[in-house]
Amino acid sequence: MMSHWIVAPIILPALVGSFVLLTLRHDLLLQRVAGLAGTAGLVFLALVLWAGTAGGAIESYELGSWPAPFGIVLVADRLAALMVLLTAVLGLMVLAYVTASGWDGRGRHFHALYQFQLMGLMGAMLTGDIFNLFVFFEILLIASYGLMIHAGGRMRLRAGVQYVVVNLAGSTLFLFALGAIYGIFGTLNMADMAVRVGQLPEGDIALLRVSAALLVLVFLLKGGLVPLHFWMPNTYALAPAPVAALFAIMTKVGAYSVIRVYTLVFPPEAAGTGTMVADILMPFALVTLALGALGVLAGGTLGRVTAFSALASMGTLFAAVAGFDPEAIAAALYYLIHSTLAGAALFLVVDQVRARRGTSALVPRAPMAGTGLVASAYFAAAIAVAGMPPLSGFMGKLMVLDALRDHGAWVWVWSVVLVGSLVIVVGFARAGSVLFWKAHDGATPAAAPAEPVDRPDPAATSGWAMAALALPLVGVLALTAFAGPVHGQMRAIAAQLGDRAAYVAAVLGPEAGAGLATLTPDEDQ
C-alpha cells in the first residue's frame, strides 16, 4: 500500500541536498527556499508514512527488488513512522530557526549538509538491515560533524575533533560488531537475525552474546550513556546552538536503535542473550541521569547546563528502555518525543541568550534586550526539560516511574529520577536567576567561562527567530494537552514491537513469521 513512499523520505533530502550543492550553492536565499521546501516535503512524506502504518500494518520495501534477506530492506512500522515524523518535524522547526536567525550564512554549505543529515536520520530509522544502519550512521556522523563546526571558532573546532574522533572509534566498534554479527548469523537482515537467533547451537551462544554486547555499546555511545558519553557535553555546549537543537534527535537515534534491535533480535526473553543488555542498561542509565543532573547544577554556561540536561534526559530515557516491557517502552517513547522537543527549545533559548548577551556564561551582565520574552521561553523550556508540571516532561517522568514500579530496582530508579529532578530544578533556577534576574544589579562584569564567540547578527534576535523558537514549545504544549492520545499511540507502538512475528512476517514472508513463534515458545510470557 505504501510501497515507494517508504524510500521517499531518504531520497528527497538526498536529491535536495545535491540539488542545493549543484546549482544553488552561491545563493543563500535559494538555498533557504529549497531547504525549507524540502524539509516541509519531508514532513508531508512522514505524515503519509504515519497514516500508512497507523492501522498496524508493517510494510517492507526491498531495494533493488532483491528478495529479503539477500538485499537491503527498509521497513515501515509504527515505530519507524514515529521517528521519521519526529525527525522531520524537528528538522523543519530547527531549519526555520536557522533561517530566521541567519545562522546558515555564517559558514559554508549549511543547507546541503543539513539535508544530508536529515537523510542519514531518515535512513537510520527506516532501515531493516544492520549494515545499512552502519552506513546511515556514517552519513549522520560526518554530516553532523560538518554542522557542528559550522561557523568555526577555536573552541568549537577543538570540540569537533573530540566529537569526530570518539565517534569514529565508535564506527570502528560498529564494524567489529558487524563482523561478529555476520560471522554468527550469516545475515545482515534484522528480521532474518530475529529468526536465526533461536536456531543457533548452544556452543555459539558466547559469540552471540559478544556480538550483542559490541553492538549495543555502539548504540549507547550514540545515545550518550555513561561511560561512553564523554563526547556529548562539549559537543552540545559548543556546537552552534541551533545545531545542538537538531542534535536533540541524534542521541535518540542511539536509543531508537537499542529499542529496535533489542526488542526484535535480542529480546530479554531470548534464551542466549536474555537480560544481558537490560542488566547493564539500568545502572548505567541511572548514573548517566545523576551525572547529567550534577552537570546542570555545576553551571558554567547556559550552553553547558543545557548540554548536561540533555545527558540527564538520555539517562531517564535509557532507564525506561531498560524496562523492556511494553509499558516501559511506551513510556520511553513518550519521553523520547518530549525530551527531543524540550531539549531543542532550550538550545534555541541558549542561542537567544548568546545573541542578546554576547555569552551564555552564568555571570552577571548588563540586562539584555527583550529579557521578558527570552526569560519566559527559558522558564517554559526549563520546566519542560526538568520534568516539572505542568508540561510533558512531568507526564513522561510519571509514565516512566509508573512503568518501572515492578522493576527489581524500582527504589533506585525512583530515587535517582526524583532526586535528579530536584538537582536539575535547582541548577536551572540558579542559572535563570543569574541570567534574567541578577542582570538588574548593574554589577561589574565578572570573568566568564569561555565560549565560542560568533559574529553578531541582527537577524539572530529578530521576531522571526523568536517565532521559530516558539515552535518546539508549542510542540511541548501539544504533547501535554494530548498526552492521553499520544500515550495511546506509544502503547500501540510498544505492543507492535512486542509482536516480533509480525515484523518478521512482513519482511521475510508469513512462513518465517510463523516459524518464529514456534522457535521462541516462551515469547509471550
Binding site: S65, I205, V419, F436, R491
Partner: protein, 946 residues
C-alpha cells in the same frame, strides 16, 4: 459551573492582566479581580449542595492508561480551602492594586498571582493524586516567580530559590509517595484511595509512602525541620506574603494531611511524625517569632508556629483534633491575612518594618491600629476573638493526649501571646516618635478595607462561633474524617484544664513581653544555627562539588575518553562472553607458507614501529602506509583483487592528502602523559588487541551453524545482477543502497573539509598562516622537471586505465570506485608536479558540482527504476549492439557506477583544492608555468594576493 472550569478560570484569566495593563492599573486589577470573583461565584453556587453533604464532581480523561485524569471533586474540605483561596485572593488583589508602586510591573504580578491561584484551586479540587501533584508543583513554580518578583533584590532571588528548592524537593518526594499510595490502592483517584485506608496502613510500603508524602506536606507547610525557607520567602511584596505565606500556599500541606487523614492517620508513625513535628514547630516558631524585629519576619514565624499547631492537631489522629484543626485553619486564615496586610500598610506608610524604629502608631494610624489589635489579640488567643476558641480546643486536645503535650502546647501558647502582644504593643502603643523614615498616616480605603473585612470576621466568629461557622466546620471536619463529627463551638467551656492553661499562657506571655529587652539581648548573644547560611553553604558546596566532578570528568582529554571507552568495551565484551557457552571451532588451520608469514611479520613490525615512532608524525605516516600495503597484499593473497585495488588506491590518495596536511602541522607529537598513564593505556590497548584477535580466531576456526546469504549472491550475480564480478555486483546492485550512502559520506567529507578550511581562512588562523615561517627546509626545486614530464605522460594512460577499469568493473575486477580513485590519482599527480594554480587553470569543473552531480546521478538511477514501476535501485541488464561496436552486455547499474566515479573524483579533488588554499594563504608561490625553476630565488615566487 463545572469544577474543571473553575480550576481553569485563573489559568485562562492569567492571560488577561498582561494585556489589560495597557489600559491602566485599575483596569488590570479589575479584570484580575473579576476572574477571581467569577471563580468564587462558581464555588459558591456549589456550596449549598456541599453543605447538604453532597460531593460535586467533574471528570475528563487525560492519560487514562497512566491513571492521570482531570477529575475534580468538591466536598467540605475543598469548599473551605477554595473559599479561602478565592476569597482572600479577591481581598489581596484589591490590596495589591494600592500597594504596588507605579514602577512595579503590575501586569506581571497579577499574571503570576492568577497562575498561583489556579494552582491552589487545582490542588484543593483534585480528585486524582497525580493531578494534585501537577498543581502542587505549579504552586512551587508560581510562588518562585512571586517571591522573586522584585528581581533587583538579592534577598528576593535567594528567597525564591530557597523556597523552590525546599518545596520542590518536598513535591518530588511526594510524587514517590503518591505513586506508592496509588499502587497500593490500585487507583490514583482520591475517591478510591480514601476507601482503601486499611489496606494502605497494612501495606509494608505504608511507612515509606507516609514519609515521602509528609516530606511534601512538611516542606510546603514549613514544618520543622523545613521551616527555615518561609521567613526568607518574605522578601516578596507583602500582598504575596499575606496570600501565599499565611493564607493559602503554606496551608496546602495542611490540606494534604487533612485530605489523606482517613487513610494515613491512626498509626503510631503518623502520630509521632505528624504530631511530633507539629508540636516542635509550634513551640520553635513561637520562640523565634518573639525575637524577630522585622514585622513580616515576626508574622512569618508566627505562621510557622500556627501551622505547627494545626499539624499537631491533625497528628493526634482523633476526631476532636480534626475538628479543632479545621476550625483553626479558618481562624488563622482570617486573623493572619489581616495582620500581614496591616504590616504591609505600616511598611507602606512608615517605610520601615523594623519594630525598633516603630511605636506609637496608634495615634497616627487609628484604623490600622484597630485592625491590628483585633488580629493580634485573636492570634494571642484572647477571648471574644476567634483565635481564642480554637486555641482552647487545641489545649484541650493536648491535655487529653498527655502531660508532655500539654506542657509544650502551653509553652507554645505562652510565646504566642508574647509575640502577638509585642506586635501590637511595640508597634502601635507607646509614645509617638519623631524619627520614622516617613511620617505615617492611615492609607486609603483600598488598603485598609480588605483587612478590615477579615477583622470583622474575626470578631463575629469569636463572638457567635456556632451560629457563624458551626455548621460549616462540621461539614468540613466530616470531609476530613469521613464521619459525622460532633461540633459544638462555644465561647465558654467552663473551668476546664484548657482554661487554666490558657490563663497561664496569657499571663506568661505578658511577663515575656515585659522582660523582652533583656531576653532579646540574651537571644542575640546565644549561638544558634543560621538556616539560610547553612542552606546556602550546602547548595554552594554541592554546586562546587558538582562542578569539580563534572569539569574533572569532562576536561576534553580525548585519549582518556577513548581509554575508558575501550576498557568498557573490553569489560562488557568479556562479561558477555563468559555468560554463554562456547564450543571451540573444529576447522583445521591451513598450513603456513612463507609469503604470508613474511607479510604478517612485516605487519607486526610496522605496527610495533608505529607505537615506537608515533611521535614523529612524518615517519609514522610512512609506517602506516606499510600497514596499508600489507593489507592490500593480504587481499591479493586471498584472491580478492577488487579489494586489493581499492585498498591500494585509497592508500595512495589518503597518504598524499595526509602528507599535504602534515606540511602545516607540527611535525612531532608532544609528550602529554606520564609513564604510568601510558602503561595503563598500553595495557588497555593490549587487552583490546587480544580480545579482537581472540574473537577473530573464534570465528575463523569454526564452521557456520547457519548458511550465509553470500551463497545467494554468488548464485545470482550474473543472472540477476548482470555481472560476473560478484564484488562489484554486490556494491552496485545487491547492496547498491549502501554504496549510495557511502559515496554521500565521501562527498560530505569533502564538503566538510572545504567548509572547515573556508572557516579557518576567515578566522584568526588565517593571520597565523600568513605569518608562518616554514619549519622545514624548502625544496629549491618545487616542480622538478622529471616529475612534470613523467606525470604528463602518465595522465592519458592513467585516465585510459580508469575508463577501462570502470567499464570492465561489472564483470572483472574494477568498478566506479576504483576507477574514480585511479583518475583522481592521475589528476593529483598533475597538481603535485606543476602546482595547483597551473593545473587549476587547465580545467573548468567546479568540484562541488562534480560531487553533487555524482550523488545526483547515483540517486536518480534509483529514481529511474521508480519511474518504471520497479523498486528503488532495481537494475536491469541487456545485450545491446551499438554501431560500430560489437554486442555489449550493459547493466543499468553502470549509470549508478558513474555516479560513484564522479563523487570519488570530485571529493578527492575538493579535498586537495582545500589544502592548496591553505598553502596559498601560507605564502606558497603560485606558478603559472609548468616548471618554475629559478636559481636566483629558490622556493618563493611571490605571495598571492588575497
Amino acid at each position: 459551573m463545572s469544577l474543571a472550569l473553575i480550576a481553569a478560570l485563573p489559568f485562562l484569566g492569567a492571560l488577561l492582566p498582561g494585556v489589560m495593563i495597557r489600559a491602566g492599573r485599575n483596569a488590570c486589577a479589575t479584570v484580575t479581580g473579576s476572574v477571581t470573583a467569577l471563580a468564587l461565584l462558581g464555588i459558591l453556587l456549589h456550596a449549598p449542595a456541599v453543605m447538604r453533604g453532597e460531593v460535586v464532581t467533574a471528570r475528563f480523561e487525560w492519560i487514562p492508561a497512566l491513571g492521570l485524569n482531570a477529575t475534580f471533586m468538591l466536598d467540605g474540605l475543598g469548599l473551605l480551602f477554595s473559599l479561602l483561596i478565592l476569597g482572600i485572593g479577591l481581598l489581596i488583589i484589591t490590596y495589591a492594586r494600592f500597594y504596588l508602586a507605579k514602577s512595579d510591573p503590575m501586569g506581571q504580578f497579577y499574571t503570576y498571582l492568577l497562575l498561583f491561584q489556579g494552582a491552589m484551586v487545582g490542588i484543593v479540587l483534585s480528585d486524582n493524586v497525580l493531578l494534585l501533584l501537577i498543581f502542587w508543583e505549579l504552586t512551587s513554580l508560581s510562588s518562585f516567580l512571586l517571591i522573586g518578583y522584585w528581581r533587583h533584590l538579592p534577598e528576593g532571588r535567594q528567597g525564591a530559590r530557597m523556597a523552590l528548592a525546599v518545596t520542590g524537593m518536598g513535591g518530588l518526594a511526594m510524587i514517590g509517595g503518591m505513586l506508592i499510595l496509588g499502587n497500593i490502592a490500585g487507583s490514583y483517584d482520591l475517591s478510591v484511595i480514601l476507601t482503601q485506608g486499611d489496606a494502605i496502613r497494612a501495606d509494608p510500603l505504608y511507612l515509606p509512602a507516609l514519609i515521602l508524602i509528609l516530606l511534601g506536606a512538611f516542606t510546603k507547610s514549613a514544618q520543622f525541620p523545613f521551616h527555615f525557607w518561609l521567613p526568607h520567602a518574605m522578601a516578596a511584596p507583602t500582598p504575596v506574603s499575606a496570600y501565599l505565606h499565611s493564607a493559602t500556599m503554606v496551608k496546602a500541606g495542611l490540606f494534604l494531611m487533612a485530605r489523606l487523614w482517613p487513610v494515613l492517620s491512626g498509626t503510631d508513625a503518623w502520630f509521632w511524625l505528624v504530631g511530633g513535628a507539629g508540636l516542635i514547630t509550634m513551640v520553635l516558631g513561637a520562640v523565634i517569632a518573639l525575637f524577630k524585629d522585622d514585622l513580616k519576619a515576626l508574622l512569618a514565624f508566627s505562621t510557622v508556629s500556627h501551622l505547627g499547631l494545626i499539624t499537631m492537631l491533625l497528628g493526634l489522629g482523633t476526631e476532636f483534633g480534626a475538628v479543632a484543626a479545621v476550625f483553626h485553619i479558618i481562624n488563622h486564615a482570617t486573623f493572619k491575612a489581616a495582620l500581614f496586610m496591616t504590616a504591609g500598610i505600616v511598611d507602606h506608610e512608615a517605610h520601615t518594618r523594623d519594630i525598633r524604629r516603630l511605636g506609637g502608631l496608634r495615634a497616627l494610624m487609628p484604623v490600622t491600629f484597630v485592625i491590628a489589635a483585633i488580629g493580634s489579640l485573636s492570634m494571642a488567643g484572647i477571648p471574644a476573638f476567634n483565635g481564642f476558641l480554637s486555641k482552647e480546643m487545641m489545649l484541650e486536645a493536648a491535655w487529653d493526649t498527655g502531660t508532655g503535650f500539654a506542657v509544650l502546647a502551653t509553652l507554645g501558647a505562652l510565646f504566642s501571646v508574647g509575640y502577638s502582644l509585642r506586635y501590637l504593643v511595640h508597634t502601635f502603643l507607646g509614645p509617638v516618635r519623631d524619627d520614622y523614615p516617613h511620617t505615617p498616616h492611615d492609607p486609603g480605603p483600598g488598603l485598609w478595607l480588605p483587612p478590615a473585612f477579615l477583622a470583622v470576621l474575626v470578631v463575629v466568629i469569636g463572638l457567635v462561633p456556632q451560629a457563624a461557622v458551626g455548621g460549616f466546620v462540621k461539614v468540613v471536619a466530616g470531609a476530613v474524617t469521613l464521619g459525622e463529627p460532633t461540633v459544638y463551638l462555644k465561647l465558654w467551656h467552663g473551668l476546664v484544664p484548657a482554661l487554666y492553661m490558657s490563663i497561664a499562657a496569657v499571663v506568661g506571655g505578658a511577663i515575656l513581653l515585659a522582660l523582652h529587652g533583656g531576653l532579646s539581648r540574651a537571644w542575640d548573644a546565644a549561638p544558634r544555627p543560621e538556616a539560610k547560611a547553612i542552606f546556602d553553604a550546602l547548595v554552594d558546596a554541592c554546586a562546587r562539588a558538582a562542578r569539580g566532578l563534572s569539569d574533572g570528568l569532562h576536561d576534553g582529554a580525548v585519549s582518556r575518553y577513548l581509554a575508558i571507552m575501550t576498557a568498557a568495551v573490553l569489560a562488557y565484551g568479556f562479561w558477555a562472553w563468559s555468560g554463554g557457552e562456547h564450543t571451540p571451532g573444529l576447522r583445521i588451520a591451513t598450513p603456513l607458507s612463507p609469503v604470508p608469514v613474511i607479510f604478517a611479520a612485516l605487519l607486526a613490525v610496522a605496527s610495533l614501529a608505529l607505537v615506537a615512532l608515533h611521535r614523529r608524525r612524518f615517519v609514522a605516516l610512512v609506517v602506516i602506509s606499510i600497514v596499508g600495503l600489507v593489507v592490500s597484499m593480504a587481499f591479493v593473497h586471498f584472491s580478492a583483487p577488487d579489494l586489493a585495488l581499492t585498498q591500494l588506491t585509497v592508500e595512495v590518495v589518503t597518504i598524499i592528502l595526509l602528507l599535504l596536511a602534515l606540511n602545516y602541522l607540527p611535525k612531532a607529537t608532544p609528550v602529554e602523559t606520564t609513564a604510568a598513564r601510558r602503561l595503563l593505556d598500553g595495557a588497555i590497548a593490549l587487552g583490546a588487541g587480544i580480545g579482537v584477535a581472540a574473537l577473530t580466531w573464534a570465528f575463523l576456526s569454526r564452521d557456520r551453524a547457519l548458511p550465509a546469504i553470500s551463497d545467494y549472491h554468488l548464485a545470482n550475480s550474473y543472472e540477476g545482477g548482470g555481472g560476473n564480478n560478484v564484488v562489484n555486483v554486490i556494491l552496485v546492485d545487491f547492496r547498491g543502497f549502501d554504496t549510495m550512502g557511502e559515496i554521500i559520506v565521501l562527498g560530505i567529507a569533502a564538503l566538510v573539509i572545504f567548509a572547515l578550511v573556508d572557516g579557518l581562512l576567515r578566522g584568526p588562523a588565517s593571520r597565523w598562516l600568513a605569518n608562518r615561517v616554514p619549519d622545514m627546509p624548502q625544496a629549491g626545486d618545487r616542480h622538478p622537471l622529471m616529475m612534470v614530464v613523467a606525470t604528463r605522460i602518465a595522465l592519458p594512460i592513467a585516465l585510459a586505465v580508469a575508463v577501462f577499469i570502470f567499464l570492465r568493473g561489472h564483470n572483472e575486477p574494477g568498478g566506479g570506485f576504483i576507477a574514480g580513485l585511479v583518475a583522481a590519482i592521475a589528476l593529483l599527480m598533475q597538481y603535485m608536479a606543476s602546482g595547483f594554480a597551473w593545473s587549476e587553470s587547465r580545467q573548468h569543473f567546479d568540484y562541488h558540482g562534480v560531487i553533487a552531480l555524482g550523488v545526483a546521478i547515483a540517486v536518480l538511477t534509483g529514481v529511474a527504476s521508480l519511474l518504471l514501476g520497479w523498486n528503488f535501485l532495481t537494475s536491469t541488464n541487456e545485450y545491446v549492439t551499438v554501431w560500430p561496436l560489437s554486442k555489449v552486455h550493459l547493466a543499468s547499474a553502470i549509470a549508478f557506477d558513474l555516479g560513484v566515479f564522479l563523487t570519488v573524483v570530485g571529493s578527492v579533488m575538493l579535498a586537495l583544492a582545500s589544502l592548496s588554499r591553505i598553502g596559498r594563504r601560507a605564502g606558497e608561490g603560485v606558478n603559472l608555468t609548468p616548471m618554475d625553476i629559478d636559481p636566483e630565488a629558490p622556493g618563493r615566487a611571490g605571495k598571492e594576493p588575497h
